[in-house]
Amino acid sequence: MELGLEVTERGSWAVLAVAGEVDVATVPRLREQLHSLVAQGRHHIVVDLEGVDFLDSTGLGVLVGALKRVRTNGGELALVCTQSRIRKVFEVTGLTKVFSLYDSVDEAVAVDHA
């Protein structure tokens, strides 16, 4: 199963658009991509989940790990997610309290996280 990962720039933000199915089989690529962004000094990251068809608990775990990494560096990781079935995965695990979820990339990058 292919996982689409595309990085674009939005001002000081790196926007990672994820497409396809994020599960324990495909999640290593997402983890590598996020770690590589942080290693490059990108500590303000938007992960756009609009193209994601499926997200499991290991996908959540990688996003939590990346959030910790950027926050350790004084940064932020914001999520774009409007699909109710993907949002629900964050809701039932209580992670809506941990992540900031936005309706669009525009909205996510407009927020002052300082």
Binding site: M1, E21, D23, V24, A25, F54, D56, S57, T58, L60, G61, V62, V64, G65, K68, S84, R85, K88, V89, V92, T93, G94, L95, K97, V98
Partner: protein
């Protein structure tokens, strides 16, 4: 609405590459009748159970058995592996629940609000299954683990 229960039994190699195929199968079974949001719940719960079963068995040649019974209004899925059994420390929730799981007893109902710690990266699979399923039974022994999920439409 399906009048007669449909049964699907799968025996798959314990490899993560088969996960998406199991998801497709569950989706196909429910797609004509069930609301898409509830299908998503079933697909996620089953995927978590099969992923756990696969990861419990690192040895080459290991297999996972998946048995699905689709009624019109409910689906029952059993996932069985032959790994060493659940690691109680990997199970979120109070220790008593974890002990019950490893000794083969039916675990008590999910305690209210026992998700993984907010900062943890692993350990949310079972909590997810508990939240999504109407009924969850985990039976473990030295010979493997059997998870039974029941979800109603």
């Amino acid at each position: 609405v399906t009048a007669v229960a449909e049964v699907v039994e799968l025996r798959i190699p314990a490899r993560l590459e088969y996960l998406s195929t199991v998801r497709r199968l569950v989706e196909a079974a429910l797609a004509p009748d069930w609301p898409v949001e509830r299908i998503a719940d079933v697909v996620l719960a089953v995927s978590e159970a099969v992923a756990n079963a696969v990861e419990a068995q690192p040895d080459a040649g290991a297999e996972v058995e998946v048995r699905c019974r689709f009624g019109g209004a409910e689906i029952e899925v059993e996932v069985e592996d032959h790994g060493p059994g659940l690691d109680p420390h990997a199970v979120p929730g109070p220790v008593t629940a974890a002990v019950a799981i490893t000794t083969g007893a039916t675990p008590p109902p999910a305690p209210a609000g026992a998700p993984a710690p907010a900062a943890a990266e692993r350990g949310r699979g079972l909590a997810l299954m508990r939240s999504l399923a109407d009924d969850l039974t985990v039976q473990g022994s030295n010979g493997g683990t059997r998870v039974r999920l029941l979800l109603r439409r």
